[in-house]
Structures are given as structure tokens and as C-alpha cells.
């Protein structure tokens, strides 16, 4: 479960040094787009040494490796895969690539004797991947999917706008697939780092169509994301009342009961439980 996933450039010591203080649920150490081709070697060593030194980071550690179509990904994996990381993020992911990554990871996990299984977050940034999304979400290790709207817009040859009509279909399709398989649906980052109101609107829209999480490209975006991707006060209060009414009904041996004149049945109770689980996880109750 994640609200915010924060991108951090992998070759920037000043930013790495503080990457754990911004209260992001996950930090994505980026070896791909934030690192120039000539610095790929320094970035992967810096991130690896940083992780070796920082034994207990308070958040999920994600590494965005270079794509499987580059010369860099295998060295990336070799250097950074260890018990210190939780997740590999794969750019330009498709179904075949994810199967290949799974095999590679299994091999490295065995060779290095890892005590845990590394998860994978694919980035959907090709039109083909949008169409394949149902296959992608069922790939091994995948526990969340990120929409990469910038590259997707290039692939579609459309102009990326703040409102985002051009990516609406991709967003909804991604949410649908992730919801069906109960994994995180992670929205594309909001790229104007100076427009906090715009970020808020974008977050609210993403929540309204079902996204569970959002990525951030600047630490100053994290607070807004963390505040938006949680149940509202009203929802939590409602869920608490459902829980109480349900407990009362169970005592009385009632299967179905009503609250505020509305019928409460199993799906409603499950929804309330889901809200409460989230609220507890983020210390809202």
C-alpha cells in the first residue's frame, strides 16, 4: 500500500542524502532518465553504496533501472539488487519484458542469497502496453503499475496537457486492471513543480477515478499527495459508523441491517473495512 512514490536522481549525492526525510511511502532511486548516458556507471555505484550505508531506511526502496532495450540494465541489476531494496521499476514495460525481468531477478536472488523476493512496478508508457495491461498486471512480482504519461503522449503523438484528456483512457484502463487484481494503480507525476494548486486538482481527479497512489518528481509534492490519497474525514466517520452498526447487528444476529435509511450488506461492509484499514495504516485514526 502506497500513497506517494518519490523519484530521486540516482547520481545526486545531495538529494540521496536527504531522500528519507520527505515522508514518501516509497522512494524511487532513478538510474534511467535522471542520469546521463555517460554517468550510468557512477549512478549505480552511488546508489548501491548509499543503500549499503543506510541500513534501515523508513520507506520502500524502489530502483528504476534502465530499459531492457539498453546496454545498462543488466549492470544496474547486478549492482543494486540486494536485501536493502524492495522493488525494481521497469521503464517501457511490456509483457515479454516483465517475464524476462522475473527470470533475471530470480537468478540474481539465488546467486546473492537474498532473503526476500523483489517486487516489480512496470511503467506503462507505450500504447502497446496500455493494450496489454491485463496481461501485465498478472505478471509475476508485479504489485503496482505506474502510468508514464509523458512518454505515452510521445508514443501517441499527442500534446500532453495539464487537464489530461489525452491520457484519460490510459488512466481508466490502468485503474480498472489494477483494481481487478488488487494491486496499486500509480498515477503519472504532475510535472509543473511550482503549481501546487494544479497538483492538488490533479491528485483529486486521480482519486476520483480510482487511483490508489501517485508518483512525485519533487519532494515538495509529497505532502499534497499524502494528504489526498487517503480516505477523507467524512469517509472515515462513515466507515466507523458502519463498523459499529455491523458489530451491533452481529450481536443481534442480523445478516442485513440499515444505516441512515440505507441497506448495509456485505460489499458495503467490505468497503468500510478497506477505508478503515487505510486510515489506520496512515495513522488517521
Amino acid at each position: 500500500m502506497r500513497r506517494s512514490l518519490l523519484f530521486m536522481p540516482g547520481n545526486n549525492p545531495a538529494m540521496l542524502q536527504n531522500s528519507d526525510v520527505f515522508e514518501a511511502d516509497a522512494v524511487i532511486y532513478d538510474l534511467e532518465d535522471a542520469v546521463s548516458v555517460t554517468e550510468k556507471d557512477s549512478a549505480r555505484k552511488l546508489v548501491a553504496e548509499f543503500l549499503r550505508f543506510n541500513k534501515s531506511l523508513p520507506m520502500e526502496v524502489v530502483i528504476r533501472i534502465n530499459g531492457l532495450d539498453t546496454d545498462f540494465y543488466s549492470s544496474d541489476l547486478e549492482y543494486v539488487v540486494s536485501d536493502r531494496i524492495d522493488t525494481i521499476m521497469l521503464p517501457k514495460a511490456d509483457h515479454d519484458g516483465l517475464l524476462q525481468l522475473d527470470k533475471l531477478l530470480t537468478k540474481i536472488e539465488q546467486e546473492k542469497g537474498l532473503t526476500k523476493k523483489i517486487k516489480v512496478i512496470p511503467i506503462i508508457e507505450l500504447a502497446k502496453s496500455v493494450l496489454e495491461i491485463e496481461k501485465i498486471v498478472t505478471c509475476p512480482r508485479v504489485d503496482g503499475v505506474l502510468l508514464g504519461a509523458e512518454d505515452l503522449s510521445s508514443d501517441l503523438d499527442v500534446i500532453r496537457t495539464k487537464k489530461g484528456d489525452e491520457i484519460l483512457y490510459a488512466r481508466q484502463r490502468l485503474v480498472m486492471a489494477c483494481s481487478a487484481y488488487k494491486i496499486d494503480s500509480i498515477d503519472t507525476p504532475f510535472t509543473d513543480t511550482n503549481d501546487n494548486d494544479g497538483l492538488k486538482t490533479d491528485c483529486e481527479f486521480a482519486v476520483s477515478i480510482g487511483f490508489t497512489s501517485k508518483s512525485a518528481i519533487h519532494p515538495n509534492q509529497v505532502t499534497t499527495i499524502n494528504k489526498t490519497f487517503v480516505p477523507t474525514k467524512e469517509k472515515i466517520e462513515w466507515a466507523l459508523r458502519v463498523e459499529a452498526a455491523n458489530a451491533e447487528a452481529l450481536k443481534k444476529g442480523l445478516g442485513v441491517f440499515s444505516l441512515d435509511g440505507k441497506m448495509v450488506d456485505k460489499p458495503v461492509i467490505e468497503r468500510a473495512n478497506k477505508i478503515l484499514k487505510k486510515a489506520k495504516a496512515y495513522k488517521l485514526i
Binding site: 542524502q17 536527504n18 526525510v21 520527505f22 519533487h218 515538495n220 495513522k283
Partner: protein, 501 residues
């Protein structure tokens, strides 16, 4: 001799005892000056020196309201050099990098003594290297007016840049081409110097609502320009965008809120730094959300606070110094934006504003396990600042919050012992860093209020350990045994000594 903080005190100075010791002592004020003479009008600096008979051994004072754009101080320095005067004492309220020409006069023995509240740039460097003949005396913004009013610091001639002056010698900083807003730090010099000169580039028939009373003035010197408007005020002071600074500001606001300080009638002060302004901005959000109206904000004033005044979030502003253009404009038009003197601001023997503060947000170059704060020197002991109003507000405010990065360029800000004590730990209550918050154990009342807090509250020792785990333990520095200056606490006692580097 050592003071109560076990810091060295040179011969001839009184040792610091405690921050509230002033209450047990009485002071005697010297007589305010009065001029019966007509005001003499002059038009060049050389003429001024002749008229006043400024000679070897004189003490000249200045204010720093024209900040890094000031011409007055530099013109006087040039005249001292031209005349090759010796053993001059200078008593400006601050010295900035643009006063670099002073270095040569220090080296040549023209200027042999300096007292000031804040000092950075080349002059600070020269003093740290031991080039000044006598010990540098560093006051606080409240301590300087006290020293002047008691005759501890006697001024032969106060040479004060005043943006607008009338024929009767009445002056204001609110208008004129070199407008700088409040002239708070000039007031004690005006009242107690043996002779007073106003230097202006805007002589008018009449000044309405003068900030400085013409009855104390002996000479008015009119020059083409008293300063460079670009250096006098920064265009705008802005909230930091640095995510670490913003995190610190969020924590600080959280602490203030949990302590119940965000309430109707609140009074506050912050510095003009980006993190301090971010705290002000978060406090503002809470005040608006909860429809809270504060009583006043004080200190150096920025556009941020004048906006809050205009939005009705404060009833009044008490302004000793304007930091930006917006503040200068506001003091000219808003009746509830008051200029105040340095004495009214922070003199412990005056009916001062700092004593009425609910909370203050301050910075630190170093802070130690006893919560002593250094804003005077760097970790090598080199001078790079000074108290300004730091120790005054820390003592006056009910809650003093220090906001700082835990680590800057690999240097942990927390030390076992600070290199130089500016503000005693007894007046420092809360330390907020990006990796945790420490409360002074002496403030049991605050700890009690925060006992169920969700904020990361820990001991300062734990915070130091966190810092050392990241940076390693820095090697202790050995200092020289040659004093170059004293840090005078607001009551006139010496809280620490600055050594040659």
C-alpha cells in the same frame, strides 16, 4: 576569569551570570542631549569633519538601515583615510561586506576599536585574523541602546543616513529615493551622541510624522545619494523552496500548534530567512483556516508580515527594520505598522516588545547539548554574524524555537559545546531539524504538553547521535589563546570571547 557558562572573560569585562540577572540590577541613564542651536546645513563630508573637529581618537557611530547599499559609512571611512586620522573608534549597528574598505584602515591603525551588533564579510575576516588593535565588542540589538543610554558606549558624533529630512532636522526613512522604512537602530545614537549629523539625499520643507526628532540634530549634510536602492532592500524576500527547509518549517509549525500557541491574540517574530518565512506561511494558513487573529508581529519586517497585517491577521506590526520593498511601502501607508526603536524592541531595561512575544523562530550556526546557540562564528571560530536580536528575542519570547538543518555540508549543527556562545541555552526551548525535534529538558511544561505528540520528539543527545551516524564524528578544533573580541550579552556582561583564527 570564567563566566557561569565556563567561558573565558578578558580583563576589564563583567562575566555573564544568567539571562535574568538584569532584574536584580539598577542602571543609571546619562542625560539625553538637546540642541538649542540652529541646525547647520552642510554639503560635503570634508566640510563636516572640519566643522565638527573630528580628530584622532574620536568615536563615530552609524546605523545599518541602508544595509549592503549604504554609502554613508563608506564615505566617512574614505574621509578618515584621506586625513589619515588615528585611533578612531567606530560603532555602527552592523557591518556588511560592502564596508570592505574599512579593512585597510584597520591594518593602518586609523581605526583601532569597533563595536557592533553584527559583522560579516572582509571586515569580519580581518578582525578574526587579529588585525584590529583593541578587542571587538559585539552587542545585541537590545544591548547596544542600553550601552549607549548608560554611557558605557559614548559617541562623539553620530553620522546617520536619513532618507528624508526637513529644515528642522526631522527625519524619516519611509519616503525618499533611498527609503529604507524604519530607522529603529538610529534612535539611541540620536538621543545620546554628543553631536548628531543627519546625512540625506532628500531635503524637504516639512516631514509629516517624523520617525526621528529634529530637536537632537546639530547638522544636516545633503549629498547626491546616501545609498544604492538595490542594496538597501532586497526586492522581495521569499519562502524557501528547499524541501528540507519546508520539512523543518512543517515540523516547527506542528510544534507551535501542539503547544497551543496558534490562538487568538498570538504574537510572533521570525527572521527573514526562507525557512523562517515558511513557518510564517504555515502559521498564516492555520490562522486563516481557524479564523484566528493575532495581536502583533515584530522585529525586522518582511512583505510576508505586511500582507498578513493587510489581511487582518494581525492588529499591529512593530518594525525595527524593513527587510524588503513591500515592508518599506507598508510602513509609509499602514497606520498599524509602527516603526520602533532598538531600545523599545529589545532593551531589557525598557518597556520592550520582545518580552511580549509568545514565540520566536530563530536560526543557529551551531547549537550544543546545553542548547547554547552560536550565530556569531563558524566552527573554526571565524566571525560571520552576530546576535542581532537573537539573544534578546530568545529571552523575551515565551517559547523560543530554533530551526536548522541537522547537517550542512557534512557538518553536524549540534555540537557537544558550541564554538562561541551567542544565546544561552536557558533561553532556548525547542530545536527543530529535518530528522527530529528536541525540547530543552528544563522546559518540563513543554515536554508535558507534547507527551502524546505524533511529532518525532527526541533528546538532543539522540539527535546528535543521528547526525554523527550520517557524517561521522568531526575532529575537535583547538583554538588559539589570543582574544580578538567579546560577545556582550544584552545586560552588558560578557557571555563569550572570540579568539584569533
Amino acid at each position: 576569569m570564567k563566566n557561569s557558562l565556563n567561558r573565558f572573560v578578558p580583563e576589564g569585562f563583567k562575566p555573564f551570570l544568567s539571562s535574568h540577572d538584569y532584574k536584580t540590577k539598577k542602571i543609571n541613564l546619562i542625560k539625553e542631549k538637546q540642541t538649542s542651536n540652529e541646525i547647520k546645513m552642510l554639503d560635503d563630508y570634508s566640510h563636516l569633519f572640519d566643522e565638527l573637529g573630528i580628530k584622532d581618537g574620536c568615536t563615530l557611530s552609524f546605523h545599518h538601515h541602508l544595509r549592503n547599499g549604504d554609502y554613508v559609512f563608506n564615505e566617512v571611512i574614505k574621509e578618515i583615510k584621506r586625513r589619515n586620522l588615528k585611533n578612531i573608534t567606530l560603532a555602527p549597528s552592523s557591518i556588511f561586506p560592502n564596508n570592505f574598505q574599512l579593512v585597510e584602515l584597520i591594518e593602518n591603525g586609523n581605526v583601532t576599536k569597533i563595536s557592533t551588533d553584527y559583522l560579516n564579510g572582509p571586515v569580519a575576516e580581518a578582525v578574526s585574523q587579529g588585525k584590529l588593535k583593541n578587542l571587538l565588542v559585539m552587542y545585541t540589538h537590545g544591548g547596544r541602546p542600553l550601552a549607549i543610554s548608560t554611557g558605557e558606549l559614548t559617541i562623539d558624533v553620530a553620522i546617520l543616513g536619513v532618507p528624508t529630512v526637513d529644515k528642522h532636522g526631522n527625519g524619516t526613512g519611509a519616503i525618499g529615493k533611498s527609503a529604507c522604512g524604519s530607522l529603529g537602530y538610529a534612535e539611541s545614537d540620536l538621543k545620546y551622541a554628543k553631536k548628531v549629523v543627519f546625512v540625506t539625499d532628500n531635503l524637504v520643507e516639512k516631514v509629516d510624522n517624523p520617525q526621528l526628532d529634529g530637536k537632537y540634530v546639530d547638522y544636516v549634510l545633503t549629498v547626491p545619494a546616501i545609498g544604492d536602492p538595490d542594496g538597501i532592500v532586497s526586492g522581495t524576500t521569499k519562502i524557501t523552496k528547499d524541501p528540507v527547509g519546508l520539512k523543518i518549517a512543517r515540523y516547527a509549525t506542528g510544534v507551535l500548534d501542539e503547544l497551543g500557541l496558534i490562538k487568538d491574540g498570538l504574537s510572533m517574530q521570525t527572521g527573514a530567512g526562507g525557512t523562517s518565512l515558511a513557518v510564517a506561511s504555515y502559521v498564516k494558513d492555520l490562522m486563516k483556516q481557524r479564523k484566528i487573529k493575532g495581536s502583533f508581529a515584530s522585529g525586522g519586517i518582511t512583505g510576508y508580515f505586511t500582507d498578513m497585517l493587510e489581511e487582518g491577521l494581525f492588529s499591529e506590526l512593530y518594525d525595527v527594520q524593513c527587510f524588503d520593498l513591500k515592508a518599506v511601502q507598508s510602513i509609509g501607508k499602514n497606520k498599524t505598522h509602527h516603526a520602533m526603536s532598538g531600545s523599545r524592541y529589545a532593551n531589557c531595561y525598557d518597556d520592550n516588545i520582545v518580552d511580549k512575544l509568545d514565540f520566536v523562530i530563530l536560526g543557529a550556526t551551531e547549537i550544543d547539548l546545553d542548547f547554547n546557540v552560536n550565530v556569531t562564528t563558524d566552527s573554526h571560530g571565524k566571525i560571520m554574524g552576530g546576535s542581532g536580536g537573537h539573544s534578546d528575542t530568545a529571552h523575551g519570547a515565551k517559547v523560543t524555537v530554533i530551526t536548522t538543518n541537522l547537517i550542512k555540508s557534512r557538518m553536524p549543527i549540534i555540537k557537544e559545546k558550541v564554538t562561541t556562545v551567542t544565546t544561552p541555552g536557558e533561553d532556548v526551548d525547542v530545536l527543530v531539524t529535518e530528522r527530529g525535534i528536541a525540547i530543552n529538558p528544563k522546559r518540563k511544561d513543554l515536554l508535558e504538553k507534547l507527551k502524546d505528540s505524533r511529532l518525532p520528539i527526541m533528546t538532543i543527545e539522540e539527535l546528535l547521535k543521528t547526525a554523527h551516524e550520517i557524517t561521522g564524528v568531526p575532529k575537535n578544533q583547538t583554538r588559539t589563546d589570543t582574544p580578538v573580541g567579546v560577545v556582550v550579552y544584552r545586560d552588558g556582561t560578557v557571555i563569550d570571547t572570540i579568539f584569533k583564527v
